[in-house]
């Protein structure tokens, strides 16, 4: 049986403590978790040198975040790191909900075919970080400094100084921008004295990671009030290496120290899995739900991303995936500002867009938590009513809430986008949406639409049917030379990708002449039925933060 071996990354004496001259770095990122690593790799691939500081010299202890969404996989694909995640991760699209002894219903998160990635993979956070660390090590311009603990933060008008503690002593590091990806107990947030407002839910959950050979399908299974854990809820998820994540709701009165002891955990597992089940306890943790966020994610030259900025309850996989989307949103903006291509105000759009996205995640996760842990007799009664109707009355299934699983944020409203002309398009791919993927053909080769976008900059998706359409689109696109054109046609138009199955045209509500302008993070900035050069130029300027 495979088992994860914790790597020990090598600490190197930083140049500042080895007699090197002090300098101001363009970007320092604090925290080499999934969010910090993603933003650092993205920045470095955009040509921005990055200094990534982490207090430890290994990856996440315990499996922690395990569910990674399709959008996260698309972001990692853009960064060249999705393949090892897919190879090791457990692919799943379906979930099943149980009430008491029987199944209530099941659901499919990705019923439509023609997809490059599944709705989710499950992969322990330590594997995710190890794969990202390997990619980081192979990325030029990314300086990953282990055993480098940020102890103080001094924000200035156009730079930030942090004190970094290492085995060789403490040194000051100056950077033009500081990205705080240092997690829910963020040192940077505390150093700035920022309020992390929100609520704590009065419930406790036990996580037990169990190693076993079991023949449960690779689906998300959630039980309300199962016979083996009466009155409370349980969640089962498969991870890599025959490790299974089991969450038991414990209630507010549970003693967190006692409940994580094997003597308490094993009887709960025996009740669920059977007296004869052979399993090995790998990791346990007891946690409470919190829903909190910073009021703003940008504070001068300090920008917060991931759990340092917002924390949600785990049902819905919205913590890790929300954080990776923060990274995706932030990296191209910082790079454009640092290259002098955009005003500093572009970074304010990160704040506007991701605060909205965090609120959506908080709202969904709060609602799930309210359903799983009813706060009073009335909400308990509504929940019991919903569950008792759901088996036979399909409408009630929509009200059962065992977690609303992470969907990519439509970044709206946003100052960067050009609104649609009224009635021009179906709403699905409106400005702010992440670009839909679709299977295409390049000659005889099957390709994916998203893989054909220029990972570095803006892109213009041109839908054409004839050479004339193509020539007209090319003339308009001459106004925006920095947007790389990707041309898609239903059939043989020279130089166009072929939409043999018609999925690209359908998913984009496209007709010949339709053009989408996509941001460097693959979100839609604007779309037209037949744009002219001035419209394209204006939309591109706007997407770069021009007023």
């Amino acid at each position: 049986m495979d088992q994860f071996a914790y790597p020990k990354y090598r600490y190197r004496k930083p140049p500042e403590l080895a007699g090197g001259a002090a300098r101001t770095y363009p970007v320092a990122v604090v925290g080499a978790g999934p969010v910090g690593l993603t933003v650092a790799i993205d920045l470095a691939r955009r040509g921005v040198p990055v200094t990534l500081l982490d207090a430890e010299d290994t990856v996440s202890e315990g499996s922690r975040a395990i569910c990674w969404s399709k959008r996260t996989l698309e972001i990692w694909q853009r960064l060249g790191v999705a393949a090892p995640m897919m190879e090791k991760g457990i692919t799943w699209n379906r979930g099943r909900v149980f009430h008491r002894a029987g199944p209530l219903y099941d659901f499919d998160l990705q019923p439509e075919g023609g997809q490059q990635f599944p709705a989710f993979i499950n992969l322990q956070q330590y594997y995710v970080e190890a794969h990202l660390c390997a990619a980081a090590a192979a990325t030029p311009g990314l300086d990953l400094r282990w055993r480098s603990r940020v102890t103080q933060v001094a924000p200035g008008a156009d730079s930030v100084r942090v004190m970094v503690q290492t085995p060789d002593g403490t040194y000051p590091l100056d950077c033009a921008w500081l990205v705080a990806a240092d997690g829910v107990r963020s040192t940077v947030r505390r150093a700035l004295g920022l309020d992390f407002a929100g609520q704590v839910f009065e419930d406790r959950f036990l996580i037990a990671d169990v190693r076993m050979k079991a023949d449960f399908p690779t689906e998300r299974w959630f039980w309300f009030d199962p016979p083996f854990h009466g009155g409370k809820s349980t969640l089962l998820h498969r991870q890599a290496d025959d490790v299974w994540r089991i969450d038991f709701q414990l209630g507010w009165d549970a003693d967190p120290e006692e409940e994580r002891k094997p003597g308490r955990v094993i009887p709960r597992l025996r009740a669920m899995l059977g007296e004869k089940a052979a399993f090995e306890l790998e990791w346990t943790s007891v946690y409470t739900f919190q829903c909190r966020r910073l009021e703003r994610f940008r504070h001068g030259r300090v920008v917060f991303a991931g759990d340092s900025a917002h924390v949600v309850s785990p049902f819905g996989a919205r913590g890790g995936n929300g954080g990776v989307q923060d990274a995706d949103n932030l990296a191209w903006k910082l790079a454009a500002v640092l290259r002098g291509e955009a005003p500093e105000a572009l970074v304010d759009s990160y704040d506007a867009e991701r605060v909205k996205a965090a609120d959506e995640n908080l709202r969904n996760s709060t609602r799930s938590t309210d359903f799983i842990t009813p706060k009073n007799a009335a909400s308990q009664a509504f929940r019991d009513a919903v569950l008792s109707l759901a088996r036979t009355h399909p409408f009630a299934r929509a009200l059962v809430n065992s977690g609303r699983l992470s969907l990519p944020a439509v970044e709206e409203p946003s100052p960067l986008h050009t609104p649609d002309l009224p009635g021009a398009f179906a709403p699905a791919m409106r400005p702010g949406s992440p670009a839909a993927n679709a299977p295409l053909a390049d000659g005889n080769h099957a390709v994916w639409l998203l893989d054909r976008l220029d990972g570095a900059g803006f892109a213009a998706l041109c839908f054409v049917a004839t050479d004339d359409d193509r020539a007209r689109a090319a003339a308009a696109l001459a106004a925006v030379p920095r947007a790389a054109a990707v041309t898609i046609a239903p059939n043989g138009v020279a130089g166009a990708l072929r939409d043999a199955e018609g999925l690209a045209f359908r998913r984009y509500d496209a007709r010949p002449g339709t053009v989408y302008l996509l941001r460097p993070d693959q979100h839609v900035a604007a779309r037209w039925r037949r744009p002219d050069a001035p419209a394209l130029a204006a939309a591109l300027g706007r997407a770069l933060g021009a007023r």
Binding site: N364, N376, A377, F395, A398, L399, R404
Partner: protein, 65 residues
């Protein structure tokens, strides 16, 4: 006879449910029962169709002994 709707007819089910639960926040159990009873009467009057209401009442009573 109009059949009781069995598939989802609420445009934003999560919003509806959150507001339904919020309606009861801070109420005693007795107050909650009163609010629920008033809510049922208001919705019944809105629906109007006695056949549909009878089906709903039957369905609500099923399995509750």
């Amino acid at each position: 006879m109009t059949a009781l709707k069995d598939t989802l007819n609420i445009a934003a089910p999560d919003e509806f449910y959150a507001e339904l639960v919020a309606l009861h926040r801070g109420l005693t159990e007795e107050q909650s029962r009163l609010v629920n009873a008033k809510l049922i009467l208001l919705l019944a009057n809105q629906l109007g169709d006695l056949d549909v209401l009878r089906q709903a009442m039957r369905t609500a009573r099923e399995g509750v002994d």
